[in-house]
């Protein structure tokens, strides 16, 4: 059963899923870096993105590129709302407060979605172009897989350039290291936080489309496991490290695929639980993750 073809196929699948995890992890790390907050609500943003796409593309019949742009915008808008309503006020207080608040927002968004779209899952309207299947000797894939990988890499490259080359990007890195020192060189922390939220949430928006297209169906609570997996990806790659988040995402994707593959059949439903095992393993063996700074006390 474990032929080279099988392994290649599994690795490929892992990379596809990993790309999505990496994007989510990236957004979460950005927010964590600036606010030291694990943004629970982040997972819910892919739900918003996915259903947003359904609305724009299937219901309103807008062309694909327009729908994509709109969900990116929608994500960004959610980011602004969360930033303004929730976190601006909480900065400076105990860390736990922000965690709890973001928890509340996750539940709020999830249940709002449940209300708006109904508890039943929807079939996702993947555009035909992306739904084509190609079979090669070693590999079978859909065009959506290529789309996901390509878009993810593009986003990551853009983001890395942004953070290294632009003034705001450097300001973000500086703020992530020390908010106080950043203020003292004249950086407006509030603006940095807002921009971080916008970027992270916009990325989550488009990741929602990818998620829906990959899984084929969307439901109001799809954001939960997405969020959990993103956390785990961050831990694997190293909390606080942007390249770590991306690396962690891919590694998680591959590990997940292989674990599921190696399990006896009938245990595939343990997929979600496996993620937890991986997490605990990392925490025992190397808590600072692969690329992370020391977080151990």
């Amino acid at each position: 059963m474990f032929t080279p073809e099988y392994l290649i196929q599994q690795t490929f699948n892992g990379i596809v899923f990993g790309a999505m995890y990496a994007l989510l992890a990236l957004g979460m790390t950005v927010i964590y870096g600036i606010l030291r907050l694990i943004h629970f609500a982040h997972g819910a943003l892919i739900t918003v993105g996915a259903f947003g796409f359904y609305l724009f593309f299937a219901v309103l019949g807008l062309p694909f590129p327009a729908a994509i742009v709109l969900i990116i915008g929608l994500g960004a808008l959610m980011g602004v709302i969360l930033d303004v309503v929730a976190y601006k006020k909480a900065v400076g207080g105990p860390e736990v407060s922000m965690l709890i608040t973001s928890l509340g927002f996750y539940i709020l968004i999830e249940n709002l979605m449940k209300l708006i779209v109904s508890p039943q899952p929807y079939a996702f309207p993947t555009p035909e172009l992306l739904d084509r299947i190609y079979s090669m000797p070693a590999l079978t894939f859909r065009t959506i897989d290529i789309f996901i990988i390509a878009t993810s890499i593009a986003i990551m490259v853009f983001f890395t350039l942004f953070v290294k080359r632009t003034k705001m990007g450097v300001a973000m890195r500086a703020t992530a290291e020390s908010g106080e020192a950043a203020r003292m060189v004249g950086i407006n922390i509030g603006r940095v936080i807002s921009i971080s939220f916008i970027i992270a949430s916009a990325i989550a928006g488009i990741t929602g489309f990818m998620w829906g297209a990959k899984y084929g169906q969307i439901s109001y609570n799809m954001g939960f496991m997405a969020g959990v997996k993103a956390f785990v990806a961050i831990v694997i790659g190293g909390v606080g490290s942007i390249p770590g988040a991306m690396l962690g995402g891919f590694i998680l994707g591959i590990l997940e695929m292989f674990s599921v593959a190696f399990l006896p059949p009938g245990y595939a439903a343990y997929r979600d639980g496996i993620v937890f095992f991986i997490l605990i393993l990392i925490l025992i063996v190397k808590p600072s993750g692969i690329l992370g700074q020391k977080e151990v006390e």
Binding site: E180, M184, G186
Partner: protein, 234 residues
């Protein structure tokens, strides 16, 4: 240039600075000395805007800046080189310096300042693309100073520039501080190393447990006060 009138600064409920008043003339080097925990850093932070006093006013060039947030004060010409340097260790030396000029738009002025700073601290130019965290203590201090200068300040505040540095390096740093002052920048210095500080200053304040204990010209103050008392605590 700077006038602080009767400020109270708190950490939570604990008062760190009480009824503190001081003033610094334009072009001066003034120094604030005292033992650990006397409140010197807190005072500087209040002038910088990193902390907001519960009472009292901070006047800068005649303007009341007491409530102005720190990032705006940088644009007004106040800069702080904080205790422990607080450079961004995960950014490169060059990025750190450029951040000093974050709020500025004058490209020419920035380049001029950059040249000047590289002249003062050639090592910063050499190590431009190194991560700031890999620099030695003395080099980090230079970087912190350079970063502060990149904001083109008129009032530069230095919090314990000699902290953790070898004596030879300290002498060099102080030579540079004097040169910076000669170029027209007013300096407010905080130090535990009173010798060096007193040598270059024209006015001194001695702090003790949150208040100014005494002030005056450095040699007068040294004679007047038994300085050791200040450090052993009274």
């Amino acid at each position: 240039m700077l006038k602080v009138e009767g400020i109270d600064v708190h950490y939570g409920i604990i008062p760190a600075v009480r009824e503190l008043s001081l003033s610094v003339e334009k072009g001066q080097i003034a120094t604030l000395v005292g033992a650990n925990g006397a409140g010197k850093s807190t005072t500087l932070k209040a002038v910088m805007g990193a902390l907001i006093p519960k009472r009292g006013t901070v006047l800068y060039k005649g303007e009341d800046v007491t409530g102005v947030p720190a990032d705006k004060r940088v644009g007004m010409g106040i800069a702080l080189v904080p205790e422990g340097r607080q450079i961004f260790s995960r950014l490169t030396v060059r990025e750190n310096l450029n951040l000093g000029a974050y709020h500025r738009n004058d490209k020419k002025g920035i380049i001029n300042d950059q040249e000047w700073i590289y002249g003062l601290f050639p090592v910063l130019k050499e190590r431009g693309s190194q991560l700031a965290g890999t620099l030695s203590g003395g080099e980090q201090q230079m970087l912190a100073l350079g970063r502060g200068l990149m904001s083109h300040p008129q009032l530069l505040m230095l919090d314990e520039p000699s902290l953790g540095l070898a004596p030879i390096v300290v002498v060099d740093i102080y030579k540079v501080i004097e040169e910076i002052n000669r170029s027209g920048i007013t300096i407010l210095l905080v130090e535990q190393n009173i010798n060096m500080a007193m040598k270059i200053s024209s006015y001194a304040y001695i702090m003790e447990t949150g208040k100014i204990r005494t002030e005056g010209k450095p040699d007068e103050v040294m004679k007047r006060e038994n300085i050791m008392k200040v450090y052993l605590g009274e």
